[in-house]
Amino acid sequence: MNTLIVSPSPHVHGKESTRKIMGDVIIALLPAVLVSIWFFGLSAIHLVCVSVLACVVFEYLIQKFLMKKRSTVGDLSAVVTGVLLALNLPVCSPWWLILIGALVAIGIAKMTFGGLGQNLFNPALVARVVLLVSFPVLMTGTAFHAPEAGYLFGNSDLASAALDATSGATPLGFVKEQLAKGVSMQEIMATPGLSYTQLLFANMGGSAGELSAVALILGFIYLLCRRVIKPWISLSILATVFVFAGILYLGDSSKYVDPVFHLLNGGLLLGAFFMATDYVTSPMTAKGQVIFGIGIGVITVLIRTFGAYPEGVSFAILIMNATVPLLNKFQPKRFAEEAQKK
């Protein structure tokens, strides 16, 4: 007979593990990655590969040589960060920009806090925001699509149409520009390329992950089905943005963008489905999660409508990340609490 093992109960463990969860997130991100590869071909592959590789290598090196402990790249969390970072960058980003992003994400936003689970802010978003304020020209504006971006497998007609239409700027940036010029909303929306169908399936403006709302929704549904995330955060963000933007739109439809346009644009879906729902940087309880989502929604619309940037999701999520320790004070409903009070 073997030497008996003795341990406290429970003696069995469920099927879940960190690696499996991260694997599920990667699978959920695949549709978005595939869509960007479909349209941009080699440059998209280049972007994703460099980003993932850089994140994994940085994590390994930092854990091995700076933190002097066993490396945990096996848990796939660095891969998730890599993919998310790639989806947050313009497709034609130069390699050094991706490297800087990966270094910021893994080195500064994740490892300085103590690694997986300890970081206060979403690593990929920190990287995106650092790049956005450091290299605004590369991250937005006309440098967005290099004409040689390579429509390898792509539907070039659709792509070029969208490209022409948005004249190189992101749809939100374009709208903001036009509004500043005094053009009314109705006229702007008449511009070809801004139709909802196009936004839903292939919105050519924006970063790699913003291409297709349908791909992102597919990933979100996968995560829900696999019970990786609960829908509260995402739904409360989308609902808040819709309601808040809707109120503004009803107030003056010539000045404010309509709510559906808000929802489909500027990485809101990517942020709501994949960035805000990051376990580490979101609250634990349903109550906290709803408040977290509402906060992100409000800040996003505020920045988009009244701020200097056309885009606000990243900032909104980072700001709300900082409130998570506070939101975690919302305790779950205790089984025995209400009865205790009487």
Partner: protein, 314 residues
């Protein structure tokens, strides 16, 4: 010009007003405290270990001023500090013998085989609440280092070779934190003894001899030979376990030679003259007595080294 004067005047008045407010508040919330408390606290080692039974050094100082030094003792500072404290308060106290923590288990991995394997949080308290322990001796050390975690002076380390914690006498202050942390009550504060020499029973197994022996070759089997040989009535045997009263022990070491299992340890004695060897009563004990150091030692060089750390420095 007017502006400057106005500004200066305003600030001056404001400053004055605020100073008055501060003064009133300071008076109102003033805490009357015996200044001697600060004096005593300054004399304390400042470890805040709680070894004296108070919450920390400040609490000790308060108690010393209020209740007198007589009933208090700072194990960390020892007699030197206590004398200073007594002096500062104009009292006199008797010197106490310095104490050191001693492990009353010598069931190392070799002599006390593991019969089960524990899997779970590395904590003695958890193991103890779960079952008797990995070995068949349920009185012995569990080896998960709750004492090590409790020690604030870095004086206890679990030796991975033997699976037993070892006390560094130099660092041990005798605060007693480890004695409280050990779920098996294996650590005992004993007088450090003259030149650091001590004799003690390194076992707490209360099982009958055969059962104890089966679980651990180094266990005290309660045979009572030590009690018979002791001329000072320092040794008592109760429920199959011998105990040496350190206030009565005169360090003759007869019991050490007598013990058939090597459960009685002696530390910091000079090497025994070779003539002592035949004194060992049984062949088994003689075999165990062979190593240069005490008969009690398990024949493991690493263990020996740490058991007598002071000897090197002396």
């Amino acid at each position: 010009m007017n502006i400057i004067i106005f500004t200066i005047a305003t600030l001056a008045v404001l400053g004055l007003l605020l100073a008055i407010v501060l003064y009133i508040v300071a008076q109102k919330f003033k805490v009357e405290e015996d200044p001697r408390i600060d004096t005593v606290e300054a004399l304390m080692p400042g470890a805040n270990c709680g070894g004296c039974g108070k919450a920390g050094c400040r609490a000790f100082a308060e108690a010393a001023v209020k209740e007198g030094v007589g009933s208090l003792f700072c194990p960390v500072g020892g007699n030197a500090v206590m004398q200073k404290v007594a002096e500062a308060l104009g009292q006199t106290i008797e010197a106490k013998d310095p104490q050191v923590a001693v492990l009353r288990c010598n069931g190392n991995c070799e002599k006390r085989k593991k019969t089960t394997r524990y899997e779970g949080v590395a904590s003695c308290a958890t193991v103890a609440s779960l079952y008797g322990g990995e070995t068949d001796c349920m009185f012995g050390c569990l080896g998960y280092g709750d004492c090590e975690a409790a020690c604030q002076f870095d004086a206890i380390k679990v030796n991975p070779e033997t699976g037993l914690p070892e006390v560094d006498e130099e660092k041990c202050t005798g605060c007693g934190a480890c004695t409280k942390a050990c779920p098996k009550q294996l650590l005992e504060l004993r007088n450090k003894g003259p030149k650091g020499r001590r004799v003690y029973v390194a076992c707490r197994n209360k099982d009958k001899g055969a059962v104890a022996r089966k679980a651990c070759l180094n266990a005290c089997i309660g045979c009572g030979k030590c009690a018979k040989v002791c001329a000072f009535e320092a040794i008592t045997v109760e429920s199959n376990l011998a105990y040496i009263d350190f206030t009565k022990c005169r360090m003759c070491r007869k019991c050490v030679a007598e013990c058939p299992t090597g459960a009685i340890h002696e530390v910091n004695f000079p090497p025994r003259p070779a003539a002592v060897k035949p004194a060992a009563s049984t062949p088994a004990a003689a075999a165990q007595a062979k190593p240069v150091q005490p008969a009690a030692q398990a024949p493991k060089p690493e263990e020996k080294k740490v058991e007598i750390p002071v000897q090197k420095t002396e």
